[in-house]
Symmetry: C2
Subunit: 272 residues, 2 copies
């Protein structure tokens, strides 16, 4: 790897991508994203992520522990070292762990390109209107755990590369392929074009998850916990229900998604 | 209900249980706990919770919407009204929703009392060393969704009546019976005494969840995500594994718990 560069001036232009982190979480970063913490940085450097690091910013005492991962990185990024006080001054909030990196988004794939061609098996997750970063992050973690091929997001769903979503995903947002459904394209026409059976997970779904026949190609659609999936979609997709204790119908959306993905993946015998 | 009392002096002793909320989250409240937000307050007032409200503190504009729930409360608590500025001054942080209450913990039940007597069916969740309030709250939500009889916590597990745990549980921490395992009592001797089959959920578990025979009486043990359950426990309980995609073995503990509870509850045919 290139020799690390110590930078203690928070105004140094090389640190500009790390500046005012929380404000820029809200407005976006023009082709970049932030990774924080050792687990996700290791993933970003490993070559298993779909993205590459533009730079890494470490507190000096973190360098030794990460040197091996930096050495092994196929495309080693520049490494900047700054004390936690300087890191906090740049980012605008207290940095405790001393491990940050900027990733490059690259070109977004098209949704169609992420779905294996029929008749190969395919398991795709569709996120409809999920605006909570914890839920989106958790769903990526569950999609990775159960071997989904891709996650598709509608226009209202928040960015899977938002800082907190990456962290909650335990890095899965960096590895599971995802794409944004184009405006004007609806889920059911997409499912039809790609030969996927659309499944709408909902407490009102007509089919009990356990009664679902094995489906070689499925699109599992998940909506927000309150309003749920739009009625137009529920009416046209196959409604799938997770039975619950009498009087209780409230599971977290990422938890419900995990139960359904576990079942779908098991039917395909993809797990180990 | 008694007529609501307007209190705009943050030093009024009737508001003392609401004071310095975050500091007191850490040190405990001597037999009390805080409920925040409309969903959980409605549950506390409904009679479906295991606890009763000592008092309710509302921003005046929230009274109309909650009047029906207050009227219907079997043991109506005093209702104090204070503007959000006064509420924030008392609690020490910005109160946005304007809905707070103090609950009374009452006597803790013993763990043994919460387990239905053999040979009746029993499904009990055991939390070992879970110190994250989100995970504990989420596990209560999942325990409620899948009809667990009780949740038992070891000494290291955090308080299910911590403010954030109640919120994340969607109120289930107020309804699902729970108790603390006494110091010196270990999980396996407890399971033996109460005639429960101890199941240890772990990525290293020998038995695939799908291969588990129907168990009329089970104690599902869940540990922290990092270190997991202690080796001594894994060696003596039946290890249960959720198969995952090759190369991935990381589910959130509350998510893994939901998948296992769904499976166990389904085998008992308790769901609707």
């Amino acid at each position: 790897m290139p020799p690390p560069v110590t930078i203690e001036d928070p105004a140094d232009p090389r640190l500009a991508p790390y500046a005012r982190m929380r404000e820029r979480d809200l407005v976006g970063r023009e082709g970049r994203f932030v990774v924080e913490g050792e687990v996700t940085l290791r993933l970003l450097l490993s070559g298993r992520a779909r993205f590459r690091a533009e730079s890494v910013l470490l507190a000096p005492e973190r360098l030794d522990g990460l040197a091996g991962a930096l050495e092994a990185c196929p495309e080693p990024p520049p490494v900047y070292l700054a004390g936690k006080a300087a890191m906090s001054a740049v980012t605008g909030f207290p940095i405790h762990r001393g491990v940050l990196a900027i990733g490059i988004r690259g070109e977004d794939p098209t949704p169609a390109a992420l779905v294996p061609d029929a008749p190969a098996p395919a398991l795709v997750v569709g996120l409809a209107g999920l605006t909570n970063h914890d839920n989106v992050g958790a769903l990526f973690r569950n999609a990775a755990a159960f071997g989904a091929d891709a996650v598709l997001c509608d226009a209202a769903t928040c960015d899977p590369l938002y800082r907190k979503a990456i962290r909650v995903s335990a890095g899965a947002a960096l590895t599971v392929p995802f794409a944004r459904l184009p405006a004007g394209q609806d889920w059911l026409s997409f499912a039809g074009e790609r030969d996927l059976v659309p499944l709408a997970l909902s407490p009102a779904g007509a089919t009990d998850l356990a009664d679902l026949p094995a489906l070689p190609r499925a699109l599992l659609l998940l909506g927000t916990e309150g309003p749920g999936l739009p009625g137009s979609l529920l009416a046209r997709a196959r409604g799938l229900r997770i039975p619950m204790a009498p009087g209780f119908d409230s599971l977290n959306v990422a938890t419900a998604g995990a139960i359904a993905l576990h079942h779908l993946a098991r039917m395909r015998d993809r797990l180990s």
